[in-house]
Each structure stands twice: as C-alpha cells, then as structure tokens.
Amino acid sequence: MIIDITKSGYQKGYLAKEGVGAFHPFFATANAAFRKEALARVGGFDPQCATGEDVDLSIRVAKAGYELWFEPSARITHYHRYTMKGLLKQWFDYGRGHAYLFRKQLARPRLQLYRRDRSGRKESGLDIACVLDCPTPIHAMLFLSSYHAMHGAFALALAARAFSQPALAAAALGVGLCFGWRYFGNPLEGGVRSLALAGIRYLADGAYVLGGVLGGIKERVIYLEATRSRPQAGDPARRAKPRPDRRSSLLAPGD
C-alpha cells in the first residue's frame, strides 16, 4: 500500500474569506467541521448541488461573516475505491455541479477566460490568472487547457477540409497533434502504464466536459473545464511530494 500525502497547500490558521477570481478557499466534507449555529444561519447544504456542495457551503458560511480555520494536524485518510463506471459518473457530476455553482455564486454575468499553466508551477504566475473578464449577457467560464486546444484544432482541421482549404487543414492538424502530444504525454518516456492513465484521463475529461455542457444548458451558463496536468505513473516517491503550488478552482471537486 502506498500512501500519497497530498498536502492541501493551506497554511494553518485563518483562510482568506474573499475568493480570488473564480477561486475560493473551501473545506471538503471528507474533513470539515462547522458550528451548528453557522449551519443553521446559512440553512445547511444546498440540495441542488450535484457536487461541490462543500464549496458552496464554505462560501456561504464565509459570506455570513464567519471565519474559516485550517487545522493541518486534524488528519483524515481517504481510501480511493472507484470503478471506471463510478469514475465517469463522478466526473460527469463534477461538470454538472460546477455549472450550477458558477451560476449561483457569481452574481453578474461575465465572460471569464482562464489560462491554466499545465505545469502547475507557481512562478509562471498564470495558474489562476484571469486573462479575460468582461460583462456579457450570460455567464461564460472558460478554463482552457490542452484538452480543449486539441479538440478545437481538430475541429478546425475538419472544417477547413470541408471548405477545401488543405493548407489550413494541415496546419490545424499539426497544432492539434502538438496539443495531443502535450495531453497524452510521450509514450516512450512513461511507458504503457502512463499511456493507459492518459486514456483514463481522456475519458474522465470527456465525462467532465459533457456534464459541464449539459449542466450549463440547464443553468444558462457556458462552462468549459478539463484536467490541468497529466497524472504521473510509476515512481510513487516523486508523486508523494507535497505540491503546495497547486491551486484548485473554486469548484475543484472533493472526492
């Protein structure tokens, strides 16, 4: 049995009560405690949340004037037990739940385009940078990553081919393959196992995007997001390093 210690990246103590862009500190319900009085004041969990009810509750408790305190010495161990079907269902629900939450938590309709640094490194400064944020008739939250770039380029290539633009089609195909390479990784480097993980990631992202689009239609919000970086196969020691520089979105699902 391998224990991966995943540090949350929060510091012990009070958390910021204001979110930054679409990012808001929250506690996953796998390990969270609330004053009953605070729960009574905000009315508990929102039953309409497919997922992310913990994010929603943390935000409402903070908005009601309470402080959030992170206590790293209070430790819970979580055992992952998923089947492929369960995984896809879970990620579909993440997409659906996030669309609902964005609609609920963001008051004014805006177009917000986020560019994510795939390496997740803090020094790049682009990880949570909102590169475009302007008022629009409906909410649009776009967290673009190589998953979207790859599909966008392939779609463009197909369209160019349909309109008899072979040069454009070839260029778009090339761009799509580059992003595909970034998404799936180098099979010679990671081996079959890492390629299989990339395949699982691709299916999970598919369910995630589908959930986000369908949830978005219902909530009248355009929501696109996919995973940011490749899960690494093999060397558990490398994986077990805490990564406090990772940031997660307002709506990062708890497990």
Binding site: I3, G9, Y10, H80, R81, L197, P231, R247
Partner: protein
C-alpha cells in the same frame, strides 16, 4: 491543550455526521478509528442513504463502543442527506467525514479545539491524505488526480 480550551468556557459538544450508502464494511473501518479518539465524540450520527446492504452487524459491533445513532434517509442525494444528518445531530460542532475515510486518533480534538479560540470561527477544515491500495489503474488515476485537485491557493491563508 485540553485544559487550556476548557478554561471558563462552556464545553462544545461534538457530533460526527457520516453519510453512507451500501458500504457497511468501509463504515466499520471509520467507526473503529472513531473509537480510538483522544477526545471521544459526544455523538456519532450515521445516515444510511437508502442502502440495499444491511448495516445491522456494523451497528451491533459499535453501539457499545460509540455513542452511535443510525438513521435511514430514503431520499437519495448527498447534500440532502447531509442536511438530515445536521438535523439529527445535537452537538454544537458538527464534524463531517466520509464512509471511505479513517480518522487519526487526534482528529476530533484537533478539529474542535480551534472553535474555542474565537466565536467567529464558523468552520474548521483538516488535511486529507489519499491512500492508494495496490489497485487498479482507475484508482491510480484517482489518487494522481486528487494530487492535482486538492492543492489550494497558497496565498489564501
């Protein structure tokens, strides 16, 4: 630390609320970890979300070891069921965890202690460690993915 937090204060009662569905064997693990707490919870409320599997054996095993209460909620849906747990719980502090988790021996104490510092603290969160069994690729993906997902905004603190 316990003496410090009890100084002249009314003691805060701690209720642990757990939602479960069709996983009695996992729940048993969690309940076992709750029997070994440095600060025993005042109440453990298990909300069974309309399971097909029986929790009878688990309940019988732990009812003597924990202040355990089990209720059944027939409406399926996690937020709704957690609210049922909140309604059933009598404590001043409500601790949530999941049936596929295990608590460190100091968990309840560490979670409750910060609430004594200030009446303005409305929520306390702790660290979540992911364990991968020698399992399938799907499980490996979940652990790797939780590494990416659990990270938070460092500047937030």
């Amino acid at each position: 630390m316990i003496e410090e937090m009890d100084l002249g204060e009314t003691r805060l009662r701690a209720s642990v609320v757990i939602v479960t569905r069709d996983r009695p064997e996992l729940l048993a693990n969690l309940l076992r970890s709750l029997t070994r707490q440095t600060l025993p919870p005042d109440e453990v409320v298990v909300v069974d979300n309309n399971s097909r599997k029986s929790y009878q054996a688990v309940f019988q095993e732990f009812e003597r070891l924990l202040p355990l209460r089990m209720v059944v909620e027939e409406v399926v849906g996690i937020p709704f069921v957690r609210n049922r747990g909140i309604r059933e719980a009598g404590g001043d502090i409500i601790l949530f965890t999941d049936d596929d988790c295990e608590a460190d021996p100091a968990w309840v104490e560490s979670m409750v202690r910060p609430f004594y510092q200030s009446p303005h603290i409305g929520a306390v969160g702790g660290e979540i460690l992911s364990v991968k069994r020698a399992g399938t690729l799907v499980e490996e993906f979940c652990v790797a993915e939780s590494l990416m997902r659990v990270g938070r905004d460092e500047g937030a603190g």
